[in-house]
Amino acid sequence: MEIDGSKKLLKIFISIENIDRMVLYSLTFYLFSSVAVLSALMVISAKNPVHSVLFLILSFVNASGLFVLLGAEFLAMILVVVYVGAVAVLFLFVVMMLDINFVKLREGFLQYLPFGALLGIVLVIELGILFLTDRSSNIYNNQTPLQPIVNEVENTKMIGQILYTEYFYLFQICGIILLVAMIGSITLTLRDKGGVKRQNIDSQNTVDASTAIEKKKVKIGEGI
């Protein structure tokens, strides 16, 4: 009854004996990763910024699929909840609201091209060095593709055990950085505009006949 997702996936693969289960596993991996890479490409090449954000979301979802294949189901779900469910929604919100002139946006393209290309080249070289030199480490030494790590302890529990003991201070520092960012963005955007009518629910609820009604004697022939 308590089979976790990756174990169940593995069980399906084991039941298929003649086809190498790793072949099926690799196929799933390549499906997720190729869609992730393609949609990432579409993010930067799509003409319409809303389409870009939608492709970004597709990319996130596929990345979370890759996490599930690795047996890191907690990370996969957190990725969907935080990035897809919250961050990307607000992102889409902002992009939809902004009135962007696409032609004007493209004008600066050549101006930024050298700088962007430089960044890209540096990244590619770094990745290349990693792949060329680090062949001896465990990950690349294995002939088989990455396999789901099936543990007795749920990985949610494992993350908790490490995060709140060994990396406790780092965790706290992350929290403080987020707090500072939050306070910063609030102070940047909070303005006291005049003329905004606000509803005071407490004062509305405490109204009774004695405070709401005022009796006035009106003289005949005169207004109040």
Binding site: S15, N18, E73, A76, I78, V84, G85, A86
Partner: protein, 333 residues
Amino acid sequence: MTYDILITGLIIIAQILAVVVPVLISVAFLVYAERKVLALIQLRRGPNIVGPFGILQSFADALKLITKENIIPSGSNKIVFILAPIITMVLSLAGWAVIPFAPGWVVSDINVGIMYLFAVSSLGVYGIIMAGWASNSQYPFLGALRSAAQMVSYEVSIGFVIITVLLCVGSLNLSKIVLAQQTVWFAIPLLPMFIIFFISALAETNRLPFDLPEDESTLVAGFFTEYSSASFVLFFLGEYASMILMSSMTVILFLGGWLPPFDVYPLNVVPGVIWFTVKVIFILFLFIWVRGTFPRYRYDQLMRLGWKVFLPFSLFWVVATSGFLVYFDMLPN
């Protein structure tokens, strides 16, 4: 052999159908039940022509809508316009994969079941935003913006409610959450959280009194103003399927899932799936009852309730629950 793959594939497809088909049928009867209950609240008869007591009304409506012409506005973004209802529908069905109807009756009993449900329900907003944006029309767009802000706001408090329950269970697995309620359903010790969760579920499914994304008195029909025929049916099905999904989530988190109210003789011979169904129907009745009773919230009141009332209160309750559990040494494992 290839035979094995076929069998495995067929079993998976059969499992999916065994969940999706009853959900779709219950959507049809939920629509009928809603119209009937609302009619009773308003002293009307409700649907009573098609079939005995009008019970086939929803099927007739669905058939009528599907046979109509599907109009795609010329100014719309066609691909996104067509994708939006499909995404809404698929997401409202995807969540059912992890729902345990009875001990062992679950398509995929994953470790992070509750996180998966939370993730799927938070994705539901995309169908609405995409519909509103792709329609290229003012009212749907306003509906989409309202919906985006509303769903993000209420997700925060839903998250804290889920954390409170998880503190008492010690696992993210839905079957374990149900089994942890054998002594007492969480609705009793965590009553305020139960109420917050129910109200947030109303907001999350865009139901009255929080249905501002489709507020007909100001936004025509909100995000699906431009939709017709089959794509409208998909939105409609999606909304009701996610309503049933949120009710099942409430039942699993707070009302003991498939467990009987008391573990005594005549109650515990009733199969778990019947208890589960009865509880889900009860929550759905509450959804409809609320719709028939309360006026719609104003938008700023909705935001105030989410951020200034529910968020601090649920945060306080998380701290209080964990403090209580640590002090009395009652933390699970």
